[in-house]
């Protein structure tokens, strides 16, 4: 799991990464810490 970033940028980066990797994006919304 990658480090947290502001939520929307983090979500967009996750989806872009999944597309590059040709994998399913799995986003885990979490509490800090």
């Amino acid at each position: 799991m990658s480090q947290s970033m502001p939520w929307l940028e983090s979500l967009e980066a996750a989806l872009a990464h999944a597309r590059e990797q040709r994998k399913i994006a799995l986003v885990d919304y979490v509490k800090p810490g």
Partner: protein, 153 residues
């Protein structure tokens, strides 16, 4: 999830093989939580590589249950990519899995759909749904198969 589920070797291997995982921190900011429409955590959302939402998984899941969910998500993804036989096979694995619980009848429903999308045969669709009707006759998924034949459901 961090202490029990994600470190489990089978879960870690499944995630590494098929999923691009990311963590999004929203609960430090109530506005972000509202915008993301997240009510509770854990809250996992899966998208296809083309950003089609596949499934939302809410609440803690032990390793065996997350593995079943991940297989189900892979089946949905295969269906979206028109890999119907692959999807049918993965849905069948979920339907037959000992740990599938309430996901089993849902997977059995999709076994029929995957076959129908492949060959468009209504008789084969209802044949494929027979195990669902027999194994989980009171499930809502079995109820969805009991529409008048010859009409659009």
């Amino acid at each position: 999830m961090d202490t029990v589920t994600y470190p489990q070797p089978q879960v870690a291997a499944e995630l590494a093989a098929h999923f691009a995982c990311a963590r999004v921190d929203i609960t430090s900011d109530r506005e972000a939580m509202r915008q993301a429409r997240v009510l509770w955590t854990p809250w996992l959302v899966c998208w296809s590589r083309h950003q089609i939402p596949l499934r939302t998984v809410i609440g803690f899941l032990p390793p065996a249950q997350l593995l079943i969910e991940l297989r189900f998500v892979r089946a949905l993804d295969a269906l979206r990519r028109a890999e119907y036989e692959r999807a049918r096979s993965l849905f069948s694995e979920v339907a037959d899995a000992a740990d599938a619980a309430e996901l089993a009848p849902e997977a059995a429903y999709w076994v029929g759909i995957a076959g129908y999308l492949r060959d468009g045969d209504d008789d084969r669709l209802h044949d494929a749904w027979r195990p669902l009707q027999e194994r989980w006759p009171t499930s809502t998924w079995a109820a969805r198969t009991r529409y008048p034949r010859g009409r659009q459901p």
